[in-house]
Assembly symmetry: C2
Homo-oligomer: 280 residues x 2
């Protein structure tokens, strides 16, 4: 057979295989900033990336919302470096599935936070198969503002939870994402004047400067987040707009400004049914 034709056929076969067997594994259309070499290097230098949960300004509050992990099957949407997966296992989780779109982050996760109880999958949050009643706990840390749909995702997460199952997530606060630039408004001398809010009810894509790069995020209103949960059968059990803890406020320069506007929103919700998985 002509070598060119053979090569072409093999190529078409490989394409077909990708389309048939791996349709949900990786969607090249989705922005995957964390696999951008430069951005990834920057992100890896952040304190929360190097030192983990204790170095994350919101951890002291998020931790309070997390349920008892003992014997539970956990799904982590946007697991990144795997810090939360590892925490869940340390707290007694039976199994943890961590999914993330970034191969680079998963490489680090697989090296640093490895455990026979953790499975890492490269996949967009929207492409995961949320099989009915397969998880007791779903967590998601600072990921869902990268994802456009919320209603449909809520429905799927609700489906994959067991009765009484728990969904705890953190996102960038609607006040933080509305304007888009994610920067303070300054006077001519460079002093912070205030935080600008605009286009609040115009949901959708914003391009923010994050670590010196342009990063796409999806602004959603508070109503979308909370009524999205309520309309899909969740009971809201807790909500916190975290403030930095006292230690960080005293030690880290500029941290006082974090009291001037909310940056994150932490929400805990429960699927109706036996309440045990969500209580500590």
């Amino acid at each position: 057979m002509n070598r060119k034709i053979k090569f072409l056929l093999l190529f078409i076969l490989s394409l077909l295989r990708r389309m048939l067997f791996l349709p949900h594994m990786y969607d090249p259309m989705k922005e995957n900033k964390y696999d951008d070499e430069r951005f990834f290097r920057q992100y890896s230098q952040m304190r929360r990336s190097r030192e983990g949960l204790q170095a994350a300004g919101e951890w002291h509050e998020l931790q309070k919302l997390l349920p008892d992990f003992r014997g539970k099957r956990v799904l982590d949407l946007g697991c990144g470096f795997g810090w939360h997966c590892r925490y869940a296992v340390e707290q007694g989780a039976l199994s943890v599935t961590g999914i993330d779109l970034s191969e680079k982050m998963l490489e680090v996760a697989r090296t640093r936070h490895t455990s026979p109880r953790i499975t890492y999958l490269r996949m967009a949050v929207e492409d995961f198969e949320y099989a009915p009643e397969t998880f007791d706990i779903v967590i998601s840390s600072l990921t869902l503002h990268y994802v456009e749909p919320f209603q449909e995702l809520c429905r799927q997460i609700h489906t994959c939870l067991t009765p009484g199952g728990c969904f705890v997530f953190s996102v960038e606060h609607p006040v933080f994402t509305a304007y888009g630039s994610q920067n303070w408004y300054y006077d001519t001398e460079g002093n912070i004047l205030h935080w600008p809010v605009d286009s609040y009810f115009t949901e959708g894509k914003r391009t923010a400067n994050f670590l010196g790069e342009q990063v796409g995020k999806y602004h959603k209103t508070l109503t979308t987040y909370l009524s999205g949960l309520l309309k899909n059968g969740f009971v809201i059990t807790d909500l916190i707009e975290p403030q930095p803890d006292l230690k960080l406020l005293q030690e880290v320069e500029g941290m006082q400004d974090e009291l001037r506007r909310p940056m994150m929103l932490l929400v805990a919700a429960r699927k109706a049914g036996d309440a045990s998985p969500c209580t500590r």
Copy 2:
């Protein structure tokens, strides 16, 4: 008896009577802007004051959160001109208690929205006696941002509701109250640039310009409102940041700007127990 001494004794007696018999009726320390002649006149000119619920930008959303009033005992905290009291009666409420600090507003309410089923009381929201299980529904329209405490009030409202009872309220949105001035940030030519947010986590008094007067309001975070409800045994059943309806958007000049930042927060919550009072 010396006339001066007699006068003094009568004065002391009247003071004592006030202290003994009317301790919760009227607290002169509480700001009572709506009894200020000039402010009252301004407020009375607003479309929502003259034309009632249909002219209020948020009514089409608030109405959706209101439960079935038939046969219910209703408490309206900050009833103002009594538009909501009248609506509750029209919808079949058994009895409605409307309380407000402003004598001027109650005078209008007693004239315009009178009904044998409505009782109007002049009193601060904080001073009402929330007797256990005496109301099926508590509503409050744009009042609780004038009141400093929320946790304690939530506890009291929860107490006075029957099991399954419903609490629906609207307040100025934390994004709207944080900065304090309640005004847009303009460029030098007077064009709106954006809405300023500052001091978000510093709760407490702000002095805003409202209808050409300085009015005191109390900023609270979203966390305070929602976790206040959750911590006091309420289940959150709905939450809406209302946008003006299409008609107002098209007809009223400047209404488009209302899409640029949230102004109000509407919340419906339920006391655990038989759900019937809260379902329509």
